[in-house]
Symmetry: C2
């Protein structure tokens, strides 16, 4: 490609609404253009990156035995009504009426359509396994679209769906995909982690997120430097402390804590370590009748250490606590006879279900609210001041230094950006849509499914969050809009520079290198600034002085300075670096 035939359109300043670095740099490098909230045009420079992502994903999906198809962007509501998602999904699902007032949705994913295809196409176990995928436009009507491609409304996703005869086969399909994903993200040249994720109501361990590591990531990733353990915060297990509960050493005491309603305030005020304090969380669950009316509610007391944070996913998985909510002030008053801020498990007005975090179960001499405004209890001990805990569970988010669940060291935490997810679905959709096949015995069985996504247009943004400096983007070779840029200096003044640039360009093109020749006649400073902003990894500068001695300058985007290279060796050098 020659720059004069392309569209190079860089900006000195990022627009005011660009908050994160990838959004800023993609706007400044002319890769995307905003059309509306969360809706972007992919400009020529940006589209080249997207196409490279697509090509690698397609190649590895095909290699893993998945078959590409394309489902419509605009889908009739009927199938979505079959699974109940048409009603159940919130306003994120963009709903449309056509000229005949019939309902449609813009696909956010395609479980319904692909399951409909499978139930029509797959009759027998002999046709299984099958894995269908598409690389297609999706839309999610986010309440607050932001961060450019990171949280847009219209985006491109690769979504794959596997169909299997039984759970074992489904797990195999899942593993094949998980392996393909590793290959894909390896090829992109990104630093990433596959982390265990919550698998929802299905249970089991068959849910992993692929997270690109970046300080600016939205997600906290938990990992063990001494092993391959990695999980997202929702999923990462906090083990029970290894040491047993210490014996009580203090007497129970009611202490005045005027106006001190947080654990931190109380600990500071009492000059006691926060690790000795207890956080009291009051939640409730509702039983509903067929019409969805609440017929009975139950109040629960959850206890975690004062410096910990509750993990809502873990709490929701405790038997009886699925779909829990925070308790109302009335419910709290009914059980504690006190306002929030001074609640505790000792001396309740009315008994309730108590669930105690693993860590809390081994605490002694602790502090908690006295169920009287402006008072706390100190020196509280299980068994002596209140009954031993009934239900002990993992209720909290892990923190740095916690013991790894695999026992192989302490946990560390870093930030990541989710760019892929592999997920075992079970029969959730095949049951809802009656997608069956005949097994070896001729009996109908629900298909076992898995789904596997990659955020095609999010990926370039994640790559930039991980790979940039103050001058701009630094693309990994596999994602760069162009692999090499040739920068001739003043080719209009020096015919030998123009000739050498044209010759090298032809040579690189011939060798299949994805090269762009900057024939715009820009001044060197402006030209270099453009390419550093755009982030092309390999740059060759051709100047009159060097060429007199047969030399040009090579500089990798990460190099601090250029290296003189004989012009005849440029191709070899670049090919060697691309292989490395």
């Amino acid at each position: 490609m020659k720059a004069s035939q392309f569209l190079i359109s860089t900006l000195k300043e990022a627009p005011a609404d660009a908050e994160v670095v990838s959004h800023k740099l993609m706007m400044r490098a002319g890769m995307i253009k905003k059309l509306g909230a969360g809706i972007y045009s992919y400009m020529p420079m940006g589209l080249r990156v997207v196409r490279k992502v697509e090509a690698i994903v397609r190649e590895e999906m095909n290699r893993a035995g998945a078959v590409e198809l394309a489902m419509p962007v605009i889908q009739p509501a009927e199938l979505w009504q079959e699974t109940g998602r048409f009603e159940a999904m919130g306003p994120e699902l963009l709903r449309i009426k056509d000229r005949h007032e019939r309902d449609y949705v813009v696909q956010p994913t395609s479980e319904e359509v692909v399951t409909d295809i499978a139930r029509q196409e797959i009759k027998s176990y002999k046709q299984l396994p099958k894995n269908f995928y598409q690389i297609q436009t999706k839309f999610r009507d986010e309440r607050r679209p932001r961060f450019g491609l990171m949280r847009g409304r219209e985006f491109t996703m690769k979504d794959a769906y596997s169909f299997d005869r039984d759970q074992d086969a489904a797990k195999l399909s899942y593993q094949v995909m998980a392996k393909a994903y590793r290959k894909i993200f390896d090829r992109f040249g990104l630093v990433y982690r596959a982390v265990a994720a919550d698998s929802g109501a299905i249970g089991g361990d068959l849910s992993e997120e692929f997270q690109v590591i970046a300080a600016t990531g939205e997600d906290a990733i938990v990992y063990c430097p001494g092993s391959d353990y990695a999980a997202n915060m929702e999923k990462a297990e906090a083990l029970a402390p290894q040491s047993p509960r210490a014996a009580a050493t203090q007497a129970l005491e009611k202490v005045s804590t005027p106006g001190m309603s947080t654990c931190v305030d109380v600990a500071n005020y009492l000059k006691l370590p926060i690790e000795n304090s207890l956080k009291t969380l009051v939640v409730a669950t509702d039983e509903r009748d067929d019409k969805g009316e609440i017929v009975k509610s139950r109040v629960w007391l959850l206890l975690i250490r004062g410096d910990r944070s509750m993990n809502e996913v873990k709490v929701g998985k405790i038997p009886g606590l699925a779909g829990f909510r925070f308790a109302t002030l009335t419910e709290i008053d009914e059980h504690f006879g006190c306002e929030p801020g001074y609640l505790g498990p000792v001396g309740l007005k009315k008994p309730l279900s108590v669930v105690v975090d693993r860590e809390v179960a081994v605490m002694s001499d602790w502090i908690c609210g006295a169920n009287v405004a402006d008072y706390h209890l100190s020196g509280v001990n299980w068994g002596r001041d209140l009954p031993e805990p009934d239900v002990i569970a993992d209720l909290r988010n892990v923190v740095e230094g916690d013991l790894s669940p695999d026992g192989k060291g302490a946990l560390a935490i870093e930030r990541g950006i989710e760019i892929g997810h592999v997920f075992y679905l079970g029969t959730k959709y095949s049951r809802a849509m009656n997608a069956t096949f005949l097994d070896v015995n001729g009996k109908p069985q629900f298909m076992e499914m898995g789904c596997y996504g990659i955020g095609i247009t999010r990926l370039p943004a994640a790559a930039i969050e991980q790979n940039h400096d103050e001058r701009g983007i630094i693309w990994p070779d596999a994602l760069a809009p162009f692999t090499v840029v040739l920068c001739p200096i003043s080719p209009d003044r020096f015919p030998d520079v123009k000739a050498a640039a044209d010759k090298l360009y032809a040579e690189l093109m011939e060798a299949g290198v994805d090269v762009i020749l900057d024939d715009r006649n820009e001044r060197p400073g402006a030209m270099f600034a453009d390419w550093e902003l755009i982030g092309v990894p390999h740059r060759v500068t051709l100047g009159d002085r060097g060429l007199k001695e047969g030399m040009v300058e090579y500089q990798h985007r990460r190099d601090a300075a250029a290296t003189s290279v004989p012009v005849a060796e440029v191709l070899g050098l670049i090919q060697a670096r691309l292989k490395a």
Copy 2:
């Protein structure tokens, strides 16, 4: 590809709603699957064809200097309001409201968005010319979607838009595209014509449709076998007859034609040739005020020969007749004092504007209505019985045998399917959206635009309409989902067949041939029927008996019978046929 890893899903019968052969065959061959009215999933077999279309289009667009980008499928209404199309377009434009009740459209084309990009990106004449294109999902909410991919609602279009500094440059950009289109359709291996089309209000000749020739085509194409003249019916010019008007030989006579209100009936009844009769068409034009209220109407009389049909596009281009409508009965009575069926230009009650077809202007001794119910006039002659015509124009559709406008022989007519259109837009959109650049003198000028479409997903359907037989599709090499199919006969019983098929498959794959190995263990009859339906052009059958002598059977989809070929020569044979 191996068939067992792919999805081959053929049907004996086409669904009842499939009316045209391409729709039937694409459904039967498992290429598409209907999801809703005019909404299809592209199944793996069909998507391969679509991807081949896309790849060739992309390659030739890039080669022609166009730059690929991608504009959003869902576009905010604001830009569409700028050009007035948000209101002006009918219900074909799918309109959406998002969660915040803001208006959006699903793109049917992208003139507004691309012009918005151009007005932001292009500041100076130095940046021109530019041609941006995308291959993207489009939606048109057709009232009656039908014929499968031929007239679907969701479809993929390649739309390109050129921007130029002046009309001459714009015409050059147009020619570059027209040339690229010929190359594209040549590469597809289709029989097509580029036909002149109406260029709307802009005038000039810069509008051509690319029509795939097929007996089932919706469009009539006019061409001259003796030259390269070709136009669509709307555009094809009917020349004035070459012979001058003959002298009058008959006296004007008022004849009784009871109940005979059509030209055919009258000519038959009077035993006179229909070529002597005249069709009287009464139309009207309205002048409106600023509020759109009609302030004045004008009635026009159009005269064409009795066996001709009116060409509405031509009529609309006559000065004063833009936006014409048919006259009301009141208007007709006011001017003729008679009901339709017996109208004529002689003895009008109230004068009106008369426009006479070129052919009619040279007729003598003709028949027309007498402006009295149940009566006609015969032996009517210009100059003698009524004044010579004022305005003479081309008002009619051409017919087979008409003189070609280039004077190089007689016109012929055939049917076609429109798969591409190149169109000079002028400054229609750049004016509406104030898209200017600074010219050499530093003065702002509106950009001259052109637009260029190819129906990516319609093209396979058109190719099938042109290339099929009673057994199924016959793909041109460039469009086939697979170029070659290997059909081993009973490989489960004959290990040598399986081995030879695997070996040949590996050899063809290695050589870059797009081959599929049918490893499904189907019976030969069913296997052949599948591949003939799917339309893979080259088939190699491997049987135990032939292989004992080192021979396999080669058959092109158009061949009546197979040819014995040494297995060692198969690759060479196929490569030679693919080059030819």
